[in-house]
Symmetry: D2
Subunit: 282 residues, 4 copies
């Protein structure tokens, strides 16, 4: 048996589930996992189905589903579960998020291919080398920013990248790139958004005297720190913790939240409805 | 439009979703919420569907679904969402769980009818009276235990009770009653099971020096404290907390865990597969 | 033996602990609990000591400590543990925080005296009556706001109130009152501050698509929602939760966070250093 | 200025704090951090003080404190904060806990010296090599167990080890070794003790259908899985998670709980009172 993952998004009308489940039966499919949700505000219907069938002919599967569901004009995607999505990771000098992703990937916990690592610093090169992932240093200055993005775009094409992970990459991407890769760039912000946007959030958190600090994984949009949130978490901190401690405690939250978000994206468990995400978690 | 909740459980075979969704379409149904799960160990398929349709004729709905799904010999239940399930609460001297359930019910947070309250102590009578729920004191001693259960069974029948909530009821029910009401009695145990079964769990927890204490809501079976778990939660405690403190902190966990579990049961969100529960939470 | 609680705050210099512990020994005191903290930014030293001694003569205790510690010009407070602090609770129409405080107080979990309840609505009068706490309805309109505060101040004096609890009181207090009661008004805000300041925070949270919602207990200052934070907590929410659900789930967080904060204040476990709190929790 | 950490444990009598704080003043000490606790059951007094003074002559400091406190017959330890405690890590085939400890140590988050790594498998040798820590493979079979421990004891002596960390070391140590290193071996157990003692705890957890799984860091005693608990934590799991998932999710809890416990031990923040720990956390 071969496993497939289908995701579907369209306006909700009666009969979608009947139609899609009939299409699956027609190709001998057996549902392994099914999640669906209708957004009450927009009326958008989202579905993710993991199913098995005897045929490995994905085009046959695709044409059956596309044909049967065409009347819904859906956003529809089908892939073999084994054909993993391809990610490119961007990082600056701090390596904790990158190290976490590489460690988990190496231990079989992240079902994706890490095609390449790009950094504006050389610091993480040895880490990339240890895991035998191609590493590209692309320095960024005010002058070279445009050329740097051209180089990045070229790598995205060469490595056939599905989505980009900003694992504490401290440069702001251009509006054009954010727009072209809409819904395909995952960032980790080192605060519990929407609190403490911008720079030095742990220092802001210390000043404000919050009793919990957090981290937020979100899709990148032109509105810095305002993109759709994929996952968040927090950790309790006492008054005795100074900014240096918050940074240290926060690192743990950042890396676990980013790793969870990346896994969700890699498994096609995240749907976008407006500026909100629908998460089909296990 | 009228809302219905359907729950279905049977052996997993290809085509269940197609059949059930087709049956819903046949009665003009529109799915509002759908959850399904196939247990990988037993192969049991569980589904909960909330849907709306123009007809209020539940018998028509029932016969359509029962007819179409008959070949699966499913465990199938259908009800109007507005026809709430009826609960009887049992309590001893400690009132915190009862008070929580009554408060939430009164504020519209628990979609069930509280038919009656039974206690082996008179202490909670004023609380019942305040919320205008019938209260029955049924004292239990070694000698009267059998008669007490006869009286309880009579109340369950008179009040047409769907399920029983043990809100810190400190008497053990007979094996016969547990068996007759299998899957229909929810208990709150004041520990994070399977740790600290039996009596005085907070004292056991203090002796053991655990750093988190908890509570467990579970269905009652003949195996005391071993029934299927519905929900659990914990709270952090420091070395400075003595048993009296643990009891106090634990009360908060007990009442919130029990309230969550009761809401899940009242909304038909709990399926039983062997000794494990499947929870279709929002 | 009689128990005392001493709190002390001053500039940190070597010898404070020696001096204060010697003063305690001089009056036959035995330390039951001691917490201290020096703020690394401001150099402020904060201490809370609970001790027992044979004498019930608090003036003797006070003069010994004040005399010995005078050279530090400290902010020093001494009280018998049994002489509870007196609180006045203010509430509007929503009763969940008030109900929680009254329930806990009634069950011996909040070591304070609830002197009176003030509301701009009549809704909570029956709840106050049930627990036999004096209830005063003081309606507030743009025109009557000044008179209302005069009436409130009069009650604070009549009932000899130590601190005020805003248990979802939806009126803004005047800058004068905030200033006069600085560090003596505890408010619960229904968001995880600094996120979602202002009105309808749960609707803001829904729009933003956060994955955790929270509540914040803080001292009231003139800067609305910017006062020193005493405690915070969060609860996870899924995409399926609409604002109505967030409001319901948030209620549970609000009442538990406020109850914890009030207990901390009632036990003199909260020190103020700038806009941050030092919490001497157990 | 030079920083010292003093820990003290003795029967509680009035005057301990006065005496010890006077001793600190006598050597020109300034308290940076002070925590104390009296166990209400045993009457044991525990204290941890971090202080600075101008002198680097630790023997002078020691003799002052030992002299002044001698009448208490205390368990007393003094060290320079910079003279780190020395640990030896033991591991079997699974590397996640070891990798976490090495990563944190490398990033300056664990104030201890990792003297050596011992394993009954060769698998973790490359990881040790990467961080340039001496690695010793000591295979263990029923026949070689005694010799293996002799070799281990020799390493403990050669490397002047203060405490041992069992980072998922799957062999049981002999009662003699446990006894000789009492309070000096930290183990991570992959369950929320006292639930699921023994082997394959995640499979046990799956069978029992718990809704939270956890991990426990504890001191090792002869009573397997019953030693004093240092730290614990849990993570929520749904019914859809099979044992393989629990193992994966549990790894994250194991490594964070062990890292926190090791940091507490390395900073002398853990006192032992009977079978319970007193944790002086920040």
């Amino acid at each position: 048996m071969v496993n497939y993952i289908v995701t579907l998004q369209c306006v909700d009308v009666p009969g979608i589930v009947r139609t899609s489940s009939a299409a699956l039966v027609a190709i001998g499919g057996n549902i392994l996992e099914n999640d669906q949700f209708t957004d009450p505000v927009t009326g958008q219907f989202c579905m993710r189905t993991r199913f098995e069938t005897a045929t490995g002919d994905i085009e046959a599967v695709r044409s059956q589903l596309e044909g049967d569901l065409a009347f819904l004009s859906p956003k529809l995607a089908i892939r073999l579960e084994d054909s993993r999505r391809r990610a490119l990771i961007m990082v600056s000098a701090l390596d904790h998020c990158l190290a976490e992703l590489l460690y988990r990937h190496d231990h079989g916990e992240l079902p994706l291919d890490i095609a390449a690592i790009v950094s504006n610093h050389p610091d993480c090169a040895p880490l990339a080398e240890r895991y035998e992932i191609p590493f590209f240093e692309i320095p960024v200055t005010a002058d070279t920013k445009k050329d740097a993005e051209t180089e990045l775009r070229s790598l995205l094409e060469v490595f056939d990248v599905d989505f980009v992970i900003l694992a504490r990459y401290m440069q702001v991407l251009s509006p054009e790139l954010c727009s072209d890769l809409s819904g395909r760039i995952v960032n980790i912000h080192h605060s519990f958004l929407p609190g403490f946007k911008g720079s030095r959030p742990y220092h802001q958190a210390y000043e404000r005297g919050v009793k919990l600090i957090g981290a937020t994984a979100h899709f990148v949009t032109n509105d810095l720190d305002d993109g759709p949130i994929i996952d968040q978490d927090v950790v309790r901190v006492s008054h005795a913790r100074v900014p240096k401690d918050l940074i240290s405690l926060g690192r743990d939250v950042e890396r676990s939240v980013l790793a969870r978000a990346v896994k969700l994206v890699a498994e096609d468990r995240v749907a976008l409805v407006g500026n909100r995400t629908v998460i089909f978690s296990q």
